[in-house]
Amino acid sequence: MSDPVAQLSQFGRALRDEGLAVGTGRVLEFCRAAALLEPVDLYWAGRATLVSRHEQIGAYDRVFDRFFRGEGDRRPPERPRVRVVTEQVDVGLASEVELLRTKSFSRCSPEELAQLAELMARVRIAVPTRRARRRQPARAGAPDFRRTLRRSFRTAGEPVDRLWRERRRRNRRLVLLLDVSGSMADYSRALVMFAHAALRTDRRWEAFCFGTRLTRVTRQLATGHPDVALRRAAAEVVDWEGGTRIGESLESFLDDYGHSGLARGAVVVLCSDGLEVGDPEHLRAQMARLSRLAHRIVWLNPLQESPEYEPLARGMAAALPYVDVFASGHNLASLEELGSQLG
């Protein structure tokens, strides 16, 4: 290939195949940068213009080696990689009151589930708030000079009334990720019902189902009677009661939705038994990504209803360090408790 620009853009395309978000604008920048530098610094020209996340450096290095075979490369020698360590918060859940509310979803008859749907519609989910950038008038807080000055015009420039303002607060977004694979079959119907009830609280909230692949069901669940919504969602999800690839599903959630803002600062609730058939290491990496975006990660694992349960399954163990609240969600009482606990 003689034309250098053609070669550099081919390189950009190869990076795109590896999953890097390399648009035409970036390739243009890369070409400009390469033109400004000596050929030996080609590696760094690309690193500064085509890479925008630490995780992408590995893929960039691979493609670069394949493309330019060590030319234009002044990399420092290999160094050990970074590990992320997060504190883990354990929260115990239990309150034995009413029969139905405490009966495990897995033992409920279809009639009982229908009754539960009505009860669920009344569950209130309080999510943490976040401070917004703008302020609003308040009874106390920081002095509001602007309004104080305005008001002072009524009293001939004398600031008699002093006014205050404070930060506005907004509810954080809640994102539900529901495992509908075979091993969760006893619980998934009830959890989707819960999602239906939750989505009515706030129209910005979202729900997804996953087994081997991810399906967004927000629109299907957002309106109507629970039964109708459930049927519509079921029609949308193609891998109902199949295997579980949590890592890959999470990755496609992050790539397609989470990273572009859906998971940012949100409370993400994952409902799954953690029986991952994919690579636990992959799940760990995706959980690390999620934990950097989300405000809090809640993992509901119905297996926890058994007191002997310990999160030893490889997938669950890999994900646990990134989980802020680990609860069971196997019956209505535990979901209610969760709803009041998030705020």
């Binding site: 920048e29 530098l37 020209a45 996340r53 572009s260 975006l293």
Partner: protein, 288 residues
């Protein structure tokens, strides 16, 4: 001042006691040549902030630092009217018999405008290095707002008009990656991940930053710190820790980083109780 080549950048930084690796000098060179903000990420203590400070010294430009924190807003980053002064002035006006029409215009004049870092950087333009430190701590909304400024380098104050930079300032943004920054912002920046330096470079850096430290001690400290970094620690020691530790050992007249002096000063390198417990049993090996 503009650099002619990557080597010039390297030399200029070295002349101000900062030893960048090839990647960092290339990124700085490109950022200046292409007039793009430079986004620096890396572990704490690898010298991200120092890049901005050093660059300002090299360019003989004014360093304008915007330290980000949760809840930072436009009033703290851009400008604010000095309302209390305006109030006082308005009251003084009532006492006097001055021409009111003109005085009202004066109330929103430059005298009453409190300039914050971003406005100042836009006003000074090429004569400034704008260091936006720890952007990951600020909220999403602030990032979007910053994006607007970095796009056009203009600020509009409704009462005064638009202030635009003739030539954009050099911009260095740092992030500790406690959260992911928005892709839109990243797209406008050149990106560089600052890694821990290799052993030789770290020895040089320690000697350059702490002139009283002997070659032997610097080497021994750099070795011990490199071994510490390979352990599974919550907070791995950065270059800043290595420099402080070497200084401390010099004050105790230690010749190498082993023995009682090193044991007594390990807190300079490891600053977390769990990490100390983790390191304790391996100390003899680490400080070999």
């Amino acid at each position: 001042m503009r650099f002619g080549s990557v080597e010039e950048v390297e030399q200029a930084f070295a002349g101000h006691s900062y030893l960048p690796d090839r990647g960092l000098s290339t990124a700085v060179f490109l950022a200046l040549a292409m007039k793009r903000p430079l986004l620096l990420e890396g572990e704490a203590g690898v010298g991200k902030t120092e890049v901005g400070k050093t660059l300002a010294r090299i360019l003989e430009a004014e360093l304008i630092r915007l330290q980000c924190y949760e809840g930072i807003d436009a009033a703290q980053a851009l400008y604010e009217w000095d309302y209390s002064r305006q109030l006082l002035y308005a009251r003084a006006l009532q006492a006097g018999e001055l021409d009111p029409g003109q005085r009202v215009a004066e109330l929103y004049g430059r005298d009453f405008l409190l300039e914050r870092p971003l406005l100042r950087a836009v006003r000074i333009g090429a004569g400034a290095v704008l260091l936006i430190d720890e952007l990951d701590r600020a909220d999403d909304e602030f990032e979007a707002f910053l994006l607007e400024i970095l796009d056009a380098y203009t600020v509009t104050v409704p009462e005064l008009g638009t202030i635009a930079a003739a030539e954009p300032p050099a911009v260095v943004i740092t992030s500790n990656r406690t959260r992911e920054l928005h892709d839109a912002l990243k797209r406008r920046c050149l990106y560089h991940w600052i890694d821990y330096p290799d052993l030789e470079r770290e020895v040089e850096i320690v000697r350059l930053r702490a002139p009283g430290v002997s070659e032997r001690l610097a080497r021994s400290v750099a070795g011990a710190v490199a071994r510490l970094r390979e352990l599974d620690l919550v907070k791995r020691p950065g270059v800043a820790e290595a420099i402080d530790w070497a200084r401390a050992l010099t004050l105790l007249d230690a010749e190498t980083a082993d023995g009682d002096a090193a044991r007594a000063t390990i807190g300079w390198a490891v600053k977390n109780r769990e990490d100390l417990q983790r390191v304790e049993p391996e100390l003899p090996e680490l400080l070999a």
